[in-house]
């Protein structure tokens, strides 16, 4: 990992998720996401055979990869990575070619037809800059989401990742995802 003073990341304790979708609603309200599109979502999976069934919920959004494919393929530099690791889109530079959407292994981006630009989760960068938490983290009633600076040894996320095992999704894509799913 490149040396950064800050490295924001998200740990997700999916076992606590109750699929209330408060994070999705909070994000929609905070970022003005139109209906039918979403910056974050909850994967549902039914495991096992009847009658021993288990429903698994797993929140997902942009993984804010360390080597983001979307940033690499962007022809204008509209997709960029901030110094703190957050991957964002500068809508005034976006031409709407949607190459980044195709390059994203997590399908975490969507196209705003009304604006002609691509949008995605930016971990509520405007809130981070004010020292606040991302809307989805703040609103989660069952404390599924742990947000913080990986480079800060006193942060909750740093400490929890030291103690607990975690899984990264689609590591083989080679983009260095930064959403840590706690096991």
């Amino acid at each position: 990992m490149a040396m950064r003073t800050k490295r924001y990341a998200l740990a997700i304790d999916a076992k606590k998720c109750i699929d209330c979708k408060a994070c999705v609603v909070a994000c929609r309200a905070e970022n003005g996401v139109p209906l039918g599109k979403s910056r974050n979502w909850i994967n549902e999976e039914l495991r096992g055979d009847w009658p021993k069934l288990m429903e698994v919920f797993e929140p997902e959004q942009c993984h804010h990869c360390e080597a983001p494919a979307c940033v690499r393929v962007c022809p204008t530099g509209a997709s960029y990575q901030r110094a703190d690791g957050v991957v964002a889109v500068n809508p005034s530079e976006c031409v709407g070619c949607r190459y980044c959407m195709i390059a994203c292994p997590y399908d975490a981006r969507f196209f705003r037809e009304d604006l002609g630009v691509v949008e995605k989760c930016d971990l509520c960068a405007h809130r981070l800059d004010r020292g606040e938490l991302p809307a989805c983290v703040e609103t989660c009633p069952s404390k599924v989401r742990i947000f913080g600076d990986l480079n800060d040894p006193t942060s909750e996320i740093h400490q929890i990742l030291e103690k607990r095992q975690y899984r990264l999704k689609k590591r083989e894509a080679g983009t260095g995802p930064q959403i840590y799913y706690l096991l």
Partner: protein, 351 residues
């Protein structure tokens, strides 16, 4: 949220861009290697040069209208990002369009130019300074444009292949497949137009085009074969993605329409046309400007020495009908390659 973002506009552009690159490539190659007095070869080079610019310009227009904001397309040219195949591609396209337009201008006739510039309205008369003869620059332009045309033909495949997240694309073979498919489409369009319009020449005089096209189609075939072998021996995500054409939604269109009708059938037709050339020991490029084959039973004349070099007409097929059929099939195949790869690629994913 998985969506198919690139659709028919992109498919059309990929085909048209490749077609232009192929036309330029074949024209430039013919121009560089033709004998000075070979009027049939000159005809091929001229036709290719005059046609090459148009499909790519139409394709670029489609591309621009596929963007979220068509009027923001200029932003692509405010940046150069060597990591982004699309950025490299847009600059390559600009360069190619410029070179191909100048090259085409080099093939315009003096009379045509005089006629055009003579009829300009008074206010546009100053454009007369553009009435220059670029013909002496044809060969340097052909040499300069060859790598650019290959770049335009191959970058579309690189564009798709450079994405780790789509296992159907993520191999260098897609770039090569697109390259040879593009060059073959260029050949095919030339064969098509020549077969339909150039009554001055016999079809066997365009045999260099057939030979080139047979080479390109053969290469295409031997790219598809390793694509599958390599894919089946690769990681699970790739094997999974190949199911799209091996028992998935694209199986029929891939094997019957693309491989069968778009590749093997035109290949067979063209091989059938070309094989007699080798069997009758005819030189591939005649040393002298032979314009017509000796009509059967014609009396020996001054040109007998020349016509001796021409193949006996009755031993060659070279029918215009078959030429048109093969060319159309190759062009349809060119569209289908892009259709299948654009759609299937976006449907594939790492699980």
């Amino acid at each position: 949220m998985k969506t198919i973002e690139w659709q028919y506009l992109i498919v059309s552009y990929l085909f048209l861009g490749g077609l232009s690159a192929g036309l330029y490539f074949v024209s430039a190659l013919t121009e560089l290697f033709r004998k000075d007095d070979d009027s049939a070869q000159e005809h091929i080079a001229r036709l290719g040069a005059l046609l090459a610019s148009w499909p790519v310009m139409l394709g670029c227009t489609l591309l621009v209208f596929d963007l979220g904001h068509w009027y923001r397309a200029y932003k692509l040219f405010l940046h150069f990002r060597w990591e982004s195949p699309m950025s490299i591609g847009s600059w390559l396209l600009m360069l190619f369009i410029c070179i191909s337009l100048i090259y085409a201008y080099g093939w315009t006739s003096r009379d045509g130019r005089e006629h055009f510039f003579g009829r300009l309205p008074r206010r546009l008369r100053f454009l007369g300074i553009l009435n220059v003869d670029v013909a002496p620059w044809r060969r340097p332009l052909a040499i300069a444009g060859l790598p650019v045309s290959v770049g335009v033909a191959i970058y579309t495949g690189v564009l798709l292949g450079a994405v780790q997240s789509r296992p159907f694309w993520n191999t260098n073979l897609v770039a090569q497949l697109f390259l040879f498919s593009a060059l073959s489409s260029g050949c095919a369009l030339l064969i098509l137009v020549l077969a339909m319009r150039s009554r001055k020449f016999e079809m066997y005089q365009f045999r260099s085009l057939y030979l080139l096209d047979v080479c390109f189609l053969t290469l295409e075939f031997f790219i598809v074969v390793p694509y599958f072998i390599h894919g089946e021996l690769s990681v699970e995500a790739v094997r999974e993605s190949l199911k799209l054409v091996l028992g998935g939604p694209f199986t029929m269109v891939f094997w019957v329409f693309l491989m069968g009708l778009g590749l093997v059938l035109p290949w067979a037709i063209e091989v059938r046309e070309v094989v007699p050339l080798f069997l009758t020991h005819v030189q591939l490029l005649p040393r002298m400007g032979v314009a017509t084959p000796s009509p059967a039973g014609a009396s020996v004349s001054v040109v007998s020495e020349l016509s001796a070099l021409a193949p006996p007409a009755n031993k060659l097929h070279f029918s215009r009908g078959w030429a048109v059929a093969a060319a159309l099939l190759v062009l349809v195949g060119g569209v289908l390659v892009r259709y299948i790869f654009v759609f299937a690629g976006q449907m594939s994913a790492i699980r």
